[in-house]
């Protein structure tokens, strides 16, 4: 059992990486496994600095492959364990992440996106959206919360542990280098004070009871001999996933009710979109925002409703349409035309969006 540091509401002025470490502690996470990669390092730095007070555990591994797999080991031992990574680290950690999917291990990971492909930049991007949702050699049985600032980081990091342990799908807090490195005020709180109960954790191996007396030995597998055997397992996962999706999918709308031009954006770009919506409204343009908070699974019904109401939609990302691709698939049958503003590995500003939406008003898109 770890010592929780935040006992009452505490307003602090922190970087996002610091917030994530505090959030994990508030969620009673008791072990972090990690490997250095920018821009997520300060999560481990903060976690390590707090260790004498929290009495939690930490292991710096030899790479992200082992950070991922040792996190799985810790979870199997019954710890509310987690890790964090970014960019090329996220790529090689997919190995462990797909094992978590197959074996329904409640893996929790914070992804602080940086530019890609390859080493690219250590700064910022939204280019790990598809990877985080669908990486690995499987179907993407994952839950991904895309955050838009420090309060989100705190709220959703806590939530990620409960979602993971309740539904036993790997769960992610998908943020980025800006959120990791930037500093803004945040309210830290004890989850209990908000009525949040942490889902109890239990070991998968060496649990209660004696082998051969109280129980049989546990043999956890991710390998199957027959194709049909595999499909049966995955079909049952899909049923669980669909059921979970209805309970877990989250979204946020901002002035979307009467929006003629609906911006669809996630994460920190959605914050720029808010700024743009306000400016556009001042100019008399009815703009609005639909922000999926869970980008996997998506809140499909509200998304389709919002899109049907609008005259045009605008996809904007610090990537080349990774979210748009996932969203468009869910909009099948709708005919609302769309435009795009993609800046690969670069932040989208309010001004960028104002300019773009104004041009959409002048010459509406027909696609």
């Amino acid at each position: 059992m770890v010592n929780k540091l935040i006992k009452e509401d505490t307003k602090m002025f922190l970087t996002g990486n610091e917030v994530l470490a505090y959030a994990a502690n508030a969620a009673e996470a008791d072990f972090m496994y990690g490997y250095p990669i920018t821009p997520q390092n300060e999560i481990m730095h903060t976690w390590c600095k707090l260790l004498p007070k929290t009495e939690a555990g930490f292991l710096q591994t030899e790479d992200e492959i082992s950070a991922g797999f040792s996190t799985l080991g810790g979870i199997l031992a019954g710890k509310r364990a987690f890790t964090a990574t970014a960019g090329p680290g996220n790529v090689i950690m997919q190995d462990a992440q797909s094992m978590a999917e197959m074996m329904r291990i409640p893996f929790v990971c914070a992804v602080m996106q940086r530019g890609g492909p390859s080493t690219a930049t250590v700064i910022y991007a939204q280019q790990e959206t598809r990877l985080t949702c669908y990486g690995g050699n499987g179907e993407g049985f994952r839950i991904v919360y895309s955050t838009a600032g420090h309060q989100d980081l705190y709220d959703y990091m806590i939530k990620a542990f409960n979602t993971a342990w309740k539904y036993r799908f790997p769960t992610y807090v998908l943020a980025d280098g800006y959120q990791g490195k930037m500093r803004e005020p945040v309210m830290l709180y004890d989850p209990a004070s908000r009525g949040i109960k942490m889902v109890p954790v239990t070991p998968s191996l060496l649990g209660e009871g004696q082998i051969g007396i109280d129980r049989k030995s546990v043999h956890m597998r991710n390998t199957y001999n027959m194709e049909e055997e595999l499909m049966e397992v995955l079909d049952s996962y899909q049923v669980d996933y669909d059921k979970m999706a209805e309970e877990v999918a989250e979204y946020e709308e901002y002035k979307a009710e009467d929006a003629e031009i609906l911006i669809i954006a996630h994460g920190i770009v959605a914050r720029s979109a808010r700024t743009a919506v306000d400016e556009l409204r001042e100019k008399g343009i009815k703009a609005g925002l639909f922000r999926p908070i869970t980008i996997r699974p998506l809140a499909v019904k509200p998304l389709r409703n919002a899109v049907s109401r609008a005259k045009q939609i605008l996809f904007t990302e610090s990537a080349n349409g990774q979210l748009a691709q996932m969203v468009l698939e869910k909009l099948y049958g709708l005919t609302t035309p769309y435009s795009t503003l993609y800046k690969m590995g670069v932040g989208v500003t309010g001004d960028d969006l104002v300019e773009k939406v104004e041009s959409m008003v002048k010459s509406p898109s027909v696609v």
């Binding site: 959120q179 930037m182 500093r183 803004e184 005020p185 720029s272 932040g347 500003t349």
Partner: protein, 187 residues
């Protein structure tokens, strides 16, 4: 809705991020909404160092912006790198005693200051960045001197207690920085 967007750029080692932190800390303590992003590259040290700071009365949306209200450029490379953040409504401040070029941009006004020279000749090279902090304080005009002094105390208090004359030196630097802008504004 009042929001001040600041771009502060210089060479690694000029103390740009240190004063950005003091500035936003002061804003935070004064009950403002603040947001600060340090620009960071692959290398630990060196390169152009940029701090993007916002101080506002209401919740801040976009963390990064296209154009700043105040852009401070403390080296030639910083000028090259940051002209893109200048709009016709921006105030540009650059250090004439460091830069060999002058920012060429359409903006509300360009203020040349010689903080580096003043620091070296009248105070100490170490407080160059504090002079700039004074410049920022006067140019933005959204925070009180006492806010900054409190934030400095938080960041440097231990050093000040060990060497009280440092506190005086820093306060003097702050004041000189503020006067630099006031003088120019008076012109």
């Amino acid at each position: 809705m009042a929001r001040t967007k600041i771009v502060l750029a210089g060479e690694g080692g000029q103390g740009v991020q240190s004063i950005a932190k003091i500035l936003v800390e002061a804003g935070y303590e004064a009950g403002k909404q603040v947001l600060y992003i340090p620009n960071f590259g692959v290398e630990q040290r060196g390169g152009v160092s940029i701090a993007f700071c916002q101080i506002a009365d209401e919740t801040i949306g976009e963390p990064r912006y296209s154009k700043g209200d105040i852009i401070i450029m403390l080296s030639d490379r910083a000028i090259d790198r940051c002209e893109r953040y200048v709009s016709e409504n921006s105030t540009v401040v650059y250090d004439t005693s460091v830069c060999t070029i002058k920012p060429e941009c359409k903006c509300k006004n360009i203020i040349g200051i010689d903080a580096n020279k003043i620091a070296n000749e009248k105070l100490s090279a170490r407080v160059f960045n504090i002079i700039i902090l004074g410049v920022l304080l006067a140019a933005t005009n959204v925070l009180e001197l006492s806010d900054i002094k409190n934030a400095m105390e938080k960041a440097l208090g231990k050093k000040f207690d060990a060497k009280p004359e440092l506190r005086e030196l820093n306060y003097k630097a702050l004041e000189m920085g503020m006067n630099l802008v006031k003088e120019k504004a008076a012109l």
